[in-house]
Symmetry: C2
Subunit: 427 residues, 2 copies
């Protein structure tokens, strides 16, 4: 810990939502009348105010929370925020009744975003991603998984991972990079089976080794579905990534059932995402493998697909996380708490499951649960501060943003009146 | 127009969404490269920049919109923002599977809000309503219909209407008051048929005459449904209100089908609200009567009810509006554009229908279409300014708030960075 950095003391916390049932009451591990002390980038005390340290070698920066709530910094464990352009035309086409597969088959869909992204400069992409990360952070998010996948050739995919790294230097939230070269087949690879094979070869033999050598990603992800990659193609990529030491994630069973979730379980992926069409058998396999199920209610809402029922995941014993899936085509949203609320309302998660899905369980979907997603001494000092008295309020007023600030690596950042945006008389 | 008030000149508008197909292209009446001149509280010019006035007796305050969008000030035509307390316990009970009718029958539901509201001082209620109105205005809303209905006795109902009037003096948006004495039966009236009758008598013979004499409401509304009022009771109240010169609104066919929408049509109500269980026959009756259908997707989302299909309304020729229904028990939300987007995604409105539903058609649901809800010379100068280039963006990023400011009665008010809430290094 650099000597120049003052410690931070949060007092007067009405309810500290530790998200660790061993540290407080109920499934959320709640502690009332609490305090948290952060030194350097770590929590050194989290518990009842009455047990908090009273003397300090150096006087900490003290913030009185006035009875409000503190949670772990929220974690968005699945996003695609590095892209240019929008998908308004696709959106309108889909509202007229055209299917995702049809739109994407006709050269719209992902490929239109690939064209716009390839044409954009690094600086433009960094700026766009930075603004999206800022909107996420304004909702309390301190860790954001970000995928490549709109480049779809060796240079462009590596460039997008470099863009993620550059953006990460500018954002308060940490960006966790995922290589998703197998997001979609580029147009030049769609014409023949040999073209498909050549693209997979370049993912396996050219992209992956460089991604690993240059330490550009923590995870490798593959989109296995109708209109994307087949199961056998996904297996090739994932096995190669695993051999190179990357952790795995899989886009599985969103549009059609392909067997991708069973593959995720077999290969020990940290997470399988979407799962709208997963079977109970799939869910049991994920539970056995310890693979986290990442629900993406924004995509189900935006695509007017069905929302998987939480009781099936609960019964199978799978850990459920929720993420924004922030992307222009199927889930344009930076409102992570709203996504958790949609999961509560449409999929039937309890309020506690909804909150754990964007904290502790989202950390687990990134393999970061030892350091993030819950609050106790020794964890990274990533916190979110909310203008609420009851944790249930976080998933109550639809579309509101009660976030008052975040603590990232022990430093406090105010979120400007996002909820009560003031209207001032014009000059 | 007071001489002291400077006129306001909006230039550089990328797309002026007039919501009047006679004033521009497409169903939204779009004008590109446009300008709007406001004098006093009126629009005096709205059209292509090239045709805008170039000389002024007094130099107007000029705002360059930099290619962004201007729409009519949004109109929330159905809210219950005057209340105290929350309904978190009900929310949790409902998520466990208990029905609205069960919760309300057990003394929760509306009656718990009635208890909290009765116990709150005028000042507390004004402050709470003011903050809610401010959150609505931060989304671009300049006119808000507000109902009484959490008092349920003569003194309390009149007090709530006075609270609406006091709040209106403080808020930038105009509040349009609706008397909803027949929102629910108070607990003391639930014990017997005679009790029910005595309460309706007090609504008809005591509340309504005073409401009219003191000019406290523009509309009378009744909640006709299982657990609320019967059709015959609703008819008594609505006929008495009509005789006294009030315009009518009806909460109809939400939980069960009661015939309330046919009654609304028969009595020439300006609007019928909810309509989840309305039949095609009901919808045709509303269309013939010119009664606006007000969809409340927040309630359908929050209660996990179904969303009525737009094509049925379209085929019947009913005008569709959308409102927040902002209330603590069944639709806690101030995000009017999000509600329009939910109506688009779940009910199948087109994007144009979604935008008209919170502008022109919402004005019609309040009988204010001659002055509000669309933009042309002579209309009230109520506008909303958005950081978007394409009107479709208003219903695109889920849960975002692109509102940059509003013009209310010709005066500009900035909305503070609600979308890009800045995170500033702590001191």
């Amino acid at each position: 810990m650099p000597a120049s950095k003052r410690s931070l003391f949060l007092t007067g916390i009405g309810t500290l939502v530790t998200c660790d049932p061993e540290r407080g009451s109920g499934p959320l591990g709640e502690v009332h009348d609490a305090a948290v002390l952060c030194e350097g980038d770590r929590v050194v005390f989290a518990g009842p105010q009455s047990e908090a340290p009273r003397t300090f070698s150096e006087e900490p920066l003290t913030l009185d929370l006035d009875g409000h709530i503190v949670t772990p910094g929220l974690i968005d464990c699945h996003t695609h925020i590095v892209y240019a352009g929008d998908r308004l035309d696709d959106y309108e086409a889909r509202l007229r009744g055209e299917s995702y597969t049809t739109i994407s088959g006709a050269g719209g869909g992902i490929l239109s975003t690939v064209r716009a992204t390839r044409a954009a400069s690094d600086e433009v992409l960094v700026n766009l991603a930075e603004r999206r990360a800022e909107r996420l952070a304004a909702h309390g998010v301190t860790t954001i998984e970000v995928k490549s996948g709109y480049g779809l050739d060796v240079d462009q995919e590596l460039r997008l991972l470099e863009v993620i790294k550059r953006t990460d230097r500018r954002t308060i939230a940490d960006l966790v990079p995922t290589f998703l070269g197998a997001h979609s087949l580029p147009v030049e690879a769609r014409r023949s089976e040999a073209g498909r094979r050549a693209y997979i070869d370049s993912v396996v033999h050219e992209m992956l080794p460089q991604v690993v050598e240059r330490k550009l990603a923590r995870f490798c992800d593959v989109f296995i579905d109708d209109g994307a990659f087949r199961l056998d193609e996904g297996r090739r990529v994932l096995e190669a990534a695993k051999d190179l030491g990357l952790s795995l994630k899989v886009h599985a069973e969103q549009i059609t059932h392909t067997g991708a979730s069973a593959l995720a379980a077999e290969l020990g992926a940290v997470s399988a995402e979407h799962l709208e069409k997963a079977t109970d058998h799939d869910l049991r396999a994920l539970a056995t493998a310890g693979t986290v199920a990442v629900l993406l209610p924004g995509a189900a809402l935006f695509l007017r697909d069905w929302h998987p029922r939480a009781e099936r995941f609960r019964d199978a014993g799978v850990v459920m996380a929720v993420a924004t899936d922030f992307n222009p085509g199927t889930s344009p949203t930076a409102h992570l708490p709203l996504m958790a609320q949609i999961a509560v309302l449409h999929s039937g998660l309890t309020l506690e499951e909804g909150l754990l899905a964007i904290t502790r369980h989202a950390a687990q979907a990134l393999g970061l649960q030892a350091e993030r997603g819950s609050i106790r001494a020794g964890m990274k000092a990533d916190l979110a501060l909310f203008r609420c008295k009851d944790p249930r309020e976080l998933l109550y007023e639809i579309g509101a943003n009660p976030c008052a600030g975040i603590v990232k690596s022990g430093r406090y950042h105010r979120v400007e009146a996002a909820r009560t945006a003031r209207i001032r008389p014009g000059s």
